[in-house]
Symmetry: C2
Subunit: 319 residues, 2 copies
């Protein structure tokens, strides 16, 4: 048993020719080692968990691809858990992650206050992606505020006079950052306090559509929208279509987040694109830096902030 185990784990102490024979025999017998028993003994698994807040969001699927590519390369597998913007589900999956002893967790937290203390106590490396956490932890973020500011400024420069902002839930770090960027741009153009031009939604299409309707029905309706992700842009588009308002003609529209379909809408959508794939890769590298490193030799929490890119298409222009 001992030698077989050593052979299958490519340990140097076993002769290569014998190791080969072992592998052949194993294959012949259809032997597969029991990963659970192995994990129990080793106190770790070759699995990473990626806990994302919305599986339907192409941003996260691109992140997943990036993470998976570095994982595979290093012999890890990635399992994906969908918290669906629900803190309870997120907690459930964090719990599954510790129970199943994954050796690394990449998390896009629903809230800045998500509780990862248990993982940290156990020494499981965690990296926050897309959204910041209150606790100090490796993070891969984008310069949301800067991107939002650039987008809003672009609207103003195009001649739109009253851009509204539909952002995510107040509990999400990205939502407030994007709002901050919007406010900065408005202030820089000495626009009035845009309080009644701002709505918090939940990063989902439905609520965003309602928010748009609410804004348009208000006393001083906006003439354009900055929307904090592409999912919500769909909701806004629906509401606009309902009112026969055409983006790029009757209203201006910019969304955070690129998606494959954005160039095929009635007027192609102007978006703030994020380097999602690279973010996944980066998160993987940050994990790798910590895995197997004793707690006292761990580097301090590092944060990578990536730049966004404004992709101007039709929906933000004035005919």
């Amino acid at each position: 048993m001992a030698t077989v185990s050593r052979a299958l784990n490519n340990q140097a102490t076993v002769d290569t020719e014998l190791a080969e024979r072992v592998r052949v025999a194993a294959a012949e017998l259809g032997y597969r080692r029991n990963g659970v028993a192995r994990s129990l003994r080793l106190q770790r698994t070759d699995v990473w968990a990626l806990i994302i807040s919305d599986i339907a969001n192409p941003f996260f699927t691109a992140v997943a691809r990036g993470l998976e590519d570095v994982a595979q390369e290093q012999g890890y597998s990635v399992v994906l858990c969908n918290s669906d913007e629900d803190p309870a589900k997120e907690a459930r999956y964090l719990d599954v992650a510790v129970r199943e002893q994954v050796s690394g967790v990449v998390l896009s937290p629903n809230e800045v206050s998500s509780d990862i203390s248990h993982l940290q106590r156990l020494g499981v490396p965690v990296v926050a992606i897309d959204r910041p956490l209150r606790e100090p932890v490796d993070s891969v973020l984008v310069r949301s505020a800067a991107g939002a500011e650039e987008a809003t400024t672009h609207l103003l420069q195009q001649g739109w006079r009253r851009p509204a902002c539909i952002t995510g839930p107040e509990s999400a770090g990205t939502a407030v950052q994007r709002l901050t960027g919007y406010r900065r741009a408005m202030a820089a153009h000495s626009r009035r306090s845009p309080k009644n031009l701002v709505r918090y939604a939940d990063y989902r299409a439905d609520r965003a559509g309602l928010a748009a309707a609410d804004l348009l029905d208000g006393r001083y309706p906006p003439d354009s929208f900055f929307v904090a992700n592409s999912e919500m842009a769909l909701g806004v588009l629906e509401e606009l279509r309902h009112r026969r308002l055409v983006p790029g003609r009757d209203v201006g529209l910019v969304a955070f987040d690129d998606a494959p379909w954005t160039q095929f809408t009635e007027r192609p959508l102007t978006v703030v694109a994020q380097p999602a794939y690279e973010m996944g890769v980066l998160a993987g590298r940050l994990l790798l830096d910590r895995i197997g490193v004793p707690l006292d030799a761990q580097p301090a929490a590092r944060t990578r902030r990536l730049r966004t890119e404004l992709v101007v298409r039709g929906s933000s222009l004035r005919d």
Copy 2:
């Protein structure tokens, strides 16, 4: 130890008051049971694996939601693995599934010949979703051929004379079924053998775009397209835009697979919608029927075929 274990597992033999005290103490001490050790002893986990072929495809994300909802309800967690249309990755994840002793697998196989024999030998329930498998196994499928036939017939009835078909890879069951439906419709309208109107692609946007270009550059270019999934529809849309062809005016277009963005394209897309969420739910129920049932009491393989729905929007109409 024995009593604590029984208490935490809600066994009837322990007094409810004592069980409560155990739970309180456990919470106080921050005790979390080790899921790996538990799985080792129990020879199973509370985890299902969902192995899908394309994580960016909204069809699969809807399936995932459906499956997850029944899983949660029954105390299971579902981890998602992305095989990315790559048989090698799929095999890797199937292997991870057996190694990690998941108690059920839902698989959308890349090929009808994907090898699940090892899972079956071990008695791990498997259900194939979306695409059929050669081996007898529980399956949740849609009536692809019927849907494709209906879509193609619709194009013909709208007055399009030469609809082309861009389908998936020959190895995928759905791809050939959709092609079959297309052929049936063509035959029913006594169209010539449509050999040079058919292209196999890989269910991805890029290759589909190339296929469209190839068709349009041929000797007898098509005047309309039936495309076998929404991902590929994006590729076709790109190629059409490149040529300044507007769907619903210059060409007809129907795609299999609904997606959130389909109603917001330049001309809203006519699609064959699949009940993706329900399919996930159904797959979960099929798993539940088998989990914990001894091998000799297992029902024979069952297949559920769900109906598609043709959603007519603008892209298939003639102005």
